[in-house]
Amino acid sequence: MIKFNVKNKDHMLLLGFIGVVALAPIIMAPIGGGYPDLLQKFAIFGIFAIGFNILFGLTGYLSFGHAAFLGIGSYTAVWTFKLLTMNVIPALILSTLLAGVFALLIGFIVLRRSGIYFSILTLAFAQMSYNLAYSVLTPITNGETGLQLRHHDARVLDGLFGVTRGEGLPSTSLFGMSMSGWSGYYFCGVMLIIMFYISLRIFRSPFGMMLRAVKSNQNRMSYTGLNTRPYTLAAFVISGMYAGLAGGLMAITDPLAGAERMQWTASGEVVLMTILGGTGTLLGPVIGAGVIKYFENIFSSFNEGILMEAFSFLPEFLQHAMVTVAGLFVGEGWHLTLGALFMVIVIFLPGGLMEGIARIGNVFRRWRKPKPVAPTEAEAAASE
């Protein structure tokens, strides 16, 4: 009846995930990604995308406004640093909770509609937050300059516990452990593992099954005695809290919160990450986040000098021609590379990079079998 043990498989997946996070500095080193700042970004955007996938991947509700929760998380974290303490734990708890509260309020309104109307409503709400942060809410957000730490900030809790004020600006810490460099990466990495595990539990839970039912057929759900609205709202709040946590982590790496974090491009980015990696899959969003952040950082740093060197084996006129063409795709043109990659994946692998990985896995399995049995089309479709 049960063909394979889902639990064992999941444990293997989790162990593998922990291994990759732990060894990421070594794994990423050969391709130029083995430094903490970039890996930290992978982890933070990984959390953001995992959360987004709980809403979009499971329920099918495509939100174009999730960056707003990211921004709320960042502002909350910086305010916590200013008012309470430089310790990161209260900041993370508060940014997650406040993003959750906002998600509850917003979700209550926008989830009255589904499909494209829902997407437009979320987009409108996020742009509204973005503009508010720039204008009316300047006392809270510090407008264009962005919210920053100041030397004379209150930091009540730090004062109570007798943390001495240094000369310069204080830096974020976890009970004395600095949040920059490798310790910063590993802190974000641990958070990523925890959030991945929570998402794994949700995917395999009855609640997760209900969320997939929402995506599949809401009509049948209501005639089955299930109230769909609270299910979608719960998914919306959970993914909003993930975004809030990611925003809080961003503020930990760099205690500065700006409104541009809430802009629609940032909301669009997490949609791209999820689709690129594989919507509705467990690992896909993390992989998508990694790929996009890698391209952003590595490809955008390529300049003509590096390209010249790379093509130096060619005759001079060819070298120049190649550099001119390739130059379009790197540096400031890295978006072009990303766009092309995105198109290729959506056209040839609608299931994202995870579908690609699954296909490669299938080829291997077939190749390892002694008797080559050509699968029927139905079987191939079922295994995907």
Partner: protein
């Protein structure tokens, strides 16, 4: 004792009077068929039972509870399940998941966040779902995705999804529409078995073969009014019914 009692229902769509003073009593434990020519108001009537439509006037009482103004999920929770004319299933999910969801809905109510427990550990729910799939003859394909089923199998799956909830009243909207004769006969046998368990059923059907194989009581609807009601034998020879079916009712 009647489990569903419908009194003086009216429903108007613009200038069209879809239901006109409809009265209906469904006895507990019986199979009650509602027949009538196209456009007679059969589906409108059914929609008034499940919260999809609200009648303009009149009352619908189920087991002592008024169903008027209730949401579809609330009506299901008091014990009314419905099979649709075009099967409504969770197409992206596996068959066993399709049947587990209604089982969870019955056990946990209309909404419960159970995000930490694992479906894998819900052995009872799964076994129960597998039993129901066996009953409708779909147990072998329990782990396939529901979209891959034929239309007839989808309907049997939908039936299993309703039955796993142990409904007090099962509403079937043309359960054999678009089926081949062999499939129709299988469905009739299946429905007979369900009826033997004492589940009250209301069937809307065009196919007289199905109606006369199953129904213990028949109501005939034409142009929004019940024109005849009685045992199958009484209905067969009823002049008004023949008139309605020949299309000469109000010429």
């Amino acid at each position: 004792m009647s489990i569903l009692s419908v009194k003086n229902i009216n429903k108007q769509f613009g200038g069209l009077k879809a239901l006109n003073e409809v009265n209906l009593e469904i006895e507990a434990g019986t199979v009650h068929a509602i027949i009538g020519p196209n456009g007679a108001g059969k589906s409108t009537l059914l929609n008034c039972f499940v919260g999809r439509l609200n009648p303009d006037t009149g009352s619908v009482n189920f087991d002592g509870v008024s169903l008027l103004g209730m949401q579809p999920h609330e009506i299901n929770q008091v014990g009314v399940s419905r099979v649709f004319q075009t099967p409504e299933i969770f197409g992206d999910l596996t068959l066993v998941e399709n049947v587990m969801i209604p089982a969870f809905a019955r056990r946990d109510g209309a909404f419960r966040i159970n995000g930490w427990g694992q479906v894998e550990d819900e052995k009872n729910v799964r076994e129960n779902a597998m039993h129901l799939l066996e009953d409708v003859g779909l147990a072998e394909s329990a782990d396939t995705v529901a979209n891959q089923l034929s239309r007839g199998d989808k309907r049997r799956l939908e039936l299993a999804m309703c039955l796993v909830q142990k409904p007090k009243l099962l509403l079937l909207d043309e359960p054999t529409a678009g089926m081949a004769r062999a499939d129709t006969n299988n469905t009739i046998d299946l429905l007979k078995k369900i009826a033997e368990r004492g589940i009250t059923m209301v069937i809307i059907e065009h196919d007289m073969h199905v109606v006369f194989s199953l129904a213990e009581k028949i109501s005939v609807l034409a142009q929004g009014t019940v024109i005849a009601e009685g045992l199958p034998n009484e209905i067969k020879g009823h002049p008004k019914v023949q008139e309605a079916y020949l299309g000469g009712a109000h010429l």
